[in-house]
Amino acid sequence: MAEATAEYKVIGTRPIRPDGADKVTGRAVYGGDMRLTGMLHGKVLRSPHAHARIKSIKTAKAEALPGVKAVITVQDFPVAEDRMANLGEMAVNVKLLSNNVIAADKVLYKGHAVAAVAATSPHIAEEALGLIEVEYEVLPPVLHVLDAMKDEAPLLHETMTTTELGQKTDKHSNIANHMRFLLGDPAQGFREADVVIEREFDTATVHQGYIEPHNATALWNEDGHLYIWTSTQGAFVVQRQAAEILGLPVSQVSVTPCEIGGGFGGKISVYLEPVAAVLSRKAGRPVKIIMSRIEEFEATGPTPASHIKVKMGAKKDGRIVAAEASLMYEAGAFPGSPVGAGCMCIFSPYAIPNMQVDGYDVVVNKPKTAAYRAPGATNAAFASETVVDELAEKLGMDPLEIRRLNGAKEGDRRVDGPTFPRIGYLETVHAALEHEHYATPLTGPNRGRGVASGFWFNVGFQSTVVINVNADGTASLVEGSTDIGGTRASIAMQAAETLGIPYEDVRPTVVGTDGIGFTDVTGGSRTTFATGYAAHEAALDVVRQMKERLARRWDSEMEQEFEGQAERATVRITPDDVTYAHGAFKCAKDAGKSMTFKDVAAQMARMGGPITGRATSQPRGVGGAFATHIVDVEVDPDTGKVTILRYTAVQDVGRAIHPSYVEGQIQGGVVQGIGWALNEEFVYSDSGNMVNASFLDYRMPTTLDLPMIETVLEEVPNPGHPYGVRGVGEVPIVPPVAAIANAIYKATGKRMTHSPMSPGYVLSKLLE
């Protein structure tokens, strides 16, 4: 892993992040910290039923409560049009998005927003919620994907029909979409196989678990302009969604991103912003809404529960010749689960000639699912990586050996068709095989070691960066990517490297929709890759402008030296004659002429005025990321409780710009995977009420549940990026559930086919 290699001065070092002091002193302003003059506090009334028709809403009593300044329902919103809108990262149906922000005629999950109040205190607003009278016609809920797929299941959306293999049908069902990916001839493949394993798996609904609750502050001015302050992964995506839902031109919505207390994909869709906006317009004052933790669990965007079937066949020598999978994902109240991504990831670590993967997107009476770090991939890997492990066992092969034998490399074809560019999967398997952890035998009773691999695409999308050169030779970098994991540093480092100045001399600032060109979400493992790409290009733009200014300056100096002589015509200095390296500009035609970056900056006013580099990026060459993890566990045979003894995560990171934050992304993703594997799940009553909607009973890992998480940064530079960057943020969450399941099998002899592998579940398997 590169410390500051000879090749780079800044990239590979571990500087302190520029926003660090504010965050450790409590000065950093997160969305919930917003305070505006005359600001009101908003609260949302949420459905107590998982499935019901709204008959009537009476708000008079609530409006009469002293301190209440506005009460709103869907009537206060423009009618949402049933059409698709492109919101940068994703295309979204505006009607479905709006209906999730505020229920129209039906409530489709317990916690679905029905009305909202703005008052002079949050307590008064809460009291007012109790005075809003809503009459419901309660309908039977459907809560599990397999039940929802049945013909006789209650329908959430009467008008919705199934899209079957890309073709719209007129079959009314909770199945919104059935997709299929096919490669080769699976039936023939299975006929040739010597060993075939088939298993079914269930995973429970899981939440991103960010510690900061959703928040939004809105001021809809008398001149019709809407200002929004919020903790979000993408200010521009909030701007577009708010504009679509509220029927405003984008230019009339200004979104300022505050610091964000974690998102992991859960703070991309809007929930509160349009509600705060409409309350603000009605009350004529700014309104701040903050979700309670119960609202976070009941009414934001968890990752789908799923049922997955996997069948894989291999020859005696270990070559996998056929693979089939059927992924059934719960989309929640509205269609749009990440089952497609799950289908495309499930077998991606392997080059398999014959594959068929079917994906089902199924609505259920639960909150609409949203992205959660490599959305859809962890569920799928739990299934496929367990079956690969079983194949290895049946064939008497080491589980890493079968992965090495079948590992995908450049030119191999994914199930969705495209072939892989240069990728680093095999490098992760080799590194795992050679790692001291894997070489050290695991001894002691009730202990087991498991391995698993994972893939995620990563994305490029759009970013804009502006770099302003200051007279003292430092630079101010303006960007639109909200900084959740230290990306101010990783982006400034790439700009500094290209500018040839120290990292400390580049001051990055994150601004909102009025301050920079369109920038997509901080998500999809793209920020250091794509915004870093734009920062590099903007820095090149600065250097180019400096070369132009210097060429003019040096050429005019030539004018004096060759005062009217003939040779003057031959010696013209053009920008191409100016070279730049290690912070110094030199003149190819006159060794005596050179100036440092600082010199040029100091004389900008004399050399054509301010220098501002600008670049937008929508990079191609997005490098996918692979990981291979090793975990040792101990299982208490009396209680079924699983203890993580040791965890090593090997990942192809392309080039680690700031290694500490790359390690941090991997450690964070691994621990979210461990929580997913061991104790995290939504528990529902029969009536569709989530009974464990708190951090007490939605059990995320604490410091005491974990050892240190060892990381190995394999660097297979991505040719599609000037510094070889690959996205690193999402793939670490893909292998852990499967790796832990495989380790528990080695410790207990019982195959795990359900997540979470809670003590109760493991005990029930032990007592079988």
Binding site: R35, I211, E212, E259, I260, S660, Q667, T702, M708
Partner: protein
């Protein structure tokens, strides 16, 4: 609902405020006194993001009624650094990249401060046991524990 006049000390300064008896110390710190460094994560004592010291004892400020602080000493993240220098814990959290989004950081630093006051040379296990009341979702805790151990070593020498 008549407001109660409360006189207390926050970060070494005499402070008085008006509040309703139903307002938590967390709510008063953030919404009335503008001390927004103490963060809200769950408001029912399960995440530690709102940790402060009450008479030197580590507590969740969401589970303390503001009226209860009358005549007592409250210490929050805003009181930790000196005008010229960050506290060693703050410095080590930055050096170890022991924070990513940073929302849990004030709570962790106040908890670690209480730990080191009680146990200046904790083992890794003792650090993990003490900090189990503070949830973090970004870091996986590894670098947080290392930052606290490193700060302990530095403070031990000082």
């Amino acid at each position: 609902m008549p407001k109660i006049h409360v006189q207390t000390r926050i970060n070494g300064e005499d402070i008085d405020f008006l509040c309703e008896s139903r307002q938590s110390l967390l709510e008063v710190l953030r919404e009335e006194l503008g001390l927004t460094g103490t963060k809200e994560g769950c408001s029912n004592g399960n995440c530690g993001a709102c940790s402060v010291l009450l008479d030197g004892v580590l507590v969740d400020s969401c589970l303390v009624l503001a009226v209860e602080t009358a005549g007592r000493e409250v210490s929050t993240i805003e009181g930790l650094a000196t005008p010229s220098q960050l506290h060693p814990l703050q410095q080590k959290f930055l050096e170890h990249a022991a924070l990513q989004c940073g929302i849990c950081t004030p709570g962790f630093i106040m908890a670690a401060k209480a730990l080191l006051a009680k146990n200046p040379k904790p083992t890794e296990h003792q650090v993990r046991y003490w900090l189990a009341g503070n949830l973090c979702r970004c870091t996986g805790y590894d670098k947080i524990v290392r930052a606290v151990l490193d700060a302990a070593a530095v403070m031990e020498k000082a």
